[in-house]
């Protein structure tokens, strides 16, 4: 997929490298409301996929299905060869391999920054305390706030909290990172610092699915952009094609509204 720009945009299965996440005909209902309809998506290893679309289009629901924060009602979801089923063992295995960053950070307010980061490695992976703390410190350095380790979440700014949340997810050494609108709850001046961390991650070769409204991030970092509306994937393509040569009317309308 160099610069040939033909009908590939409508093909939701196009990806590079071997597949790590696979969604096949995924449906999700809230009561009788169809939140996701026939979602098909394959994500390759080390690929960065940015999901955009109007609010209520099912973007968050889709990535929340990938680590089973929502249970899908039909279709198949595979992460690194493991299928999400009703089996608790599979669910836990997939959650160990996927990190998730939330819009509202969801740091644990009763634990210090250090304890927030080391909780899961120690409880789930049974990493010795010292090792977990060393790893946490190096992660905090990576997100550029090593000096905050002893503080509690309530004492940090929004941007710092979100960076701690990213470090907390990375501490499990996930193969995939899911970002659910990571900058939407931040003050404008803090968005940059979080996006920088995410760009570093992407350059480091992390597989990422990012739901966001930051078009600059999509342009700069994404390998592919997925546009969703009304619970369906409308269009998939590289950033250049997506922003400069969209095929679907729905996409054009959306882009004209936000750009």
């Amino acid at each position: 997929m160099t610069e040939t720009n033909q009908t590939v945009f409508a093909d939701a299965t196009e990806h590079k490298g071997d597949v790590i996440i696979e969604l096949e005909h995924v449906d999700k209902f809230f009561g009788t409301f169809r939140a996701l309809g026939d979602i098909n998506l394959k994500v390759g290893r080390q690929e960065v996929v940015v999901v955009i679309g109007p609010s209520g289009s099912g973007k968050s629901t889709m990535i929340r299905c990938i680590n089973r924060l929502e249970a899908h009602d039909a279709g198949r979801i595979l992460v690194d060869g493991i299928e999400l089923s009703e089996d608790v063992k599979n669910i836990q295995e997939i959650r160990r391999e996927t990190g998730m960053v939330f819009q509202q950070f969801n740091l644990f307010p009763h634990l210090s920054v250090m304890d927030n980061i080391t909780l899961a490695p120690r409880q789930v992976r049974r990493v010795p305390k010292r090792e977990a703390e060393e790893q946490a410190m190096s992660l905090l350095e990576r997100v550029k706030i090593p000096e905050q380790a002893k503080k509690y979440p309530g004492q940090l700014s929004g941007g710092q909290q979100q960076r701690v949340a990213i470090a907390r997810s990375l501490a499990m050494n996930p193969k995939v990172m899911l970002f659910d609108e990571p900058t939407s709850a931040l003050d404008p001046e803090m968005i940059g610092e979080v996006l920088d961390v995410m760009k570093d991650l992407a350059r480091g070769g992390m597989t990422m699915i990012v739901v966001t409204h930051e078009m600059s991030f999509a342009r700069e970092v994404a390998d592919r952009v997925v546009f969703m509306a009304d619970g369906q994937i409308v269009e998939v393509g590289t950033p250049e094609h997506f922003f400069h040569n969209p095929q679907e009317e729905r996409t054009k309308l959306f882009l004209s509204q936000i750009l």
């Binding site: 959650r95 644990f108 789930v124």
Partner: protein, 388 residues
Amino acid sequence: MTTTAGPSARIPFYRDVRVLKWVFQVGVFAVVAAVLYWLWGNYRVNTESSGIPTSFDFLGQPTNFDIPGADFSPQERVQNAYVIGLLNTIRVSVVGIVLATILGILIGIGRLSSNWVVSKLSTVYVEMVRNLPLLVILTFVVLGLVLQAFPRIEDAWTPFGWLVFSNRGMGLPWYQEVSGLSLLVLFAFGIGGWWALARWRHAVSDRTGAPARSGLYGGTFLVISVVTGWLVLGGRIDLPTVDGPRVTGGIGVDPSFFAVLVALVVYTASHIAEIVRGSIQAIPKGQGEAASALALSGFQRMWNVILPQAMRIAIPPLGNQYLNLIKNSSLAAGFAYFDITNVTQITVGNGSPAVPAFTLALMFYVALSLITSVFVNIANRRFKLVER
């Protein structure tokens, strides 16, 4: 600018805010005092005219009544009866608080369980019990359960030969032949060992990452050390048996104590369950989701993330329920349990002056409430400190 500060700006006293405030207060105080004085005056006149004493001298008089289950003779002074009553109130309250808390937490968590059967059953329990008067439950337990459904002493129900159930009393196995003091020392030793083991296990866990399981290790040590120590000291277990019209051996549980305890626990647990549920639900959904996304198991999520935060919210209302339980235990007086209210009622019936006697009982309750709130406040502050 400065003219207003001159002497011409002196405010007439009837317009001075400071004066008015005090006038108002003194006025209100005067009204309250007048009402109290009126009540007090009536009391003096009425008691004098009917020759009723108003002092606390009655405490030194002999009681002229018997307290079953206690080593107490009718010749002893009223004040000793008060002490026994107070201890009985404390006994049923402490046991009740512990059991109600355990049951309430289980049911409260059960209501939020993803298991449909468990959550529905807990909901039915809470909604049914919470909306019934405590006295209906208590009457039911005493008259419907203990006196009616429990077997008579002649054909007492004795499961495994270890327990005795009858409407004249219950028996549980109890220790024998070892003094309470040495048992206390054994327990202290066991708990000390628990603490040391827990520290060691946590150190190991920190070093290797293996789960600490300090409760398992410590608990086992406690049980083993107490049981072996007690066997070495030559202790035996005394099993309860039915001996004619009475239950002997073991430790006897008064049917009235049992009934009051059951009613208080059942009733208070339903309220505690609601508090637990409310506090857990007050934790933002994102907390649980973040824990799930980190692959924490259901138990780990509850124990490490949800409960510590829910505790903080639950403590003040939980303290209120404890106070309610203590006060509600006074209903025991209506069902032949010798708590402080019952002692007061009987001694008043035997001729002690009502107002001083009941005032004394009320003072005990207020004191118990104050002590409990002190504990609650300490707990509250501790959990706040963890927060920030």
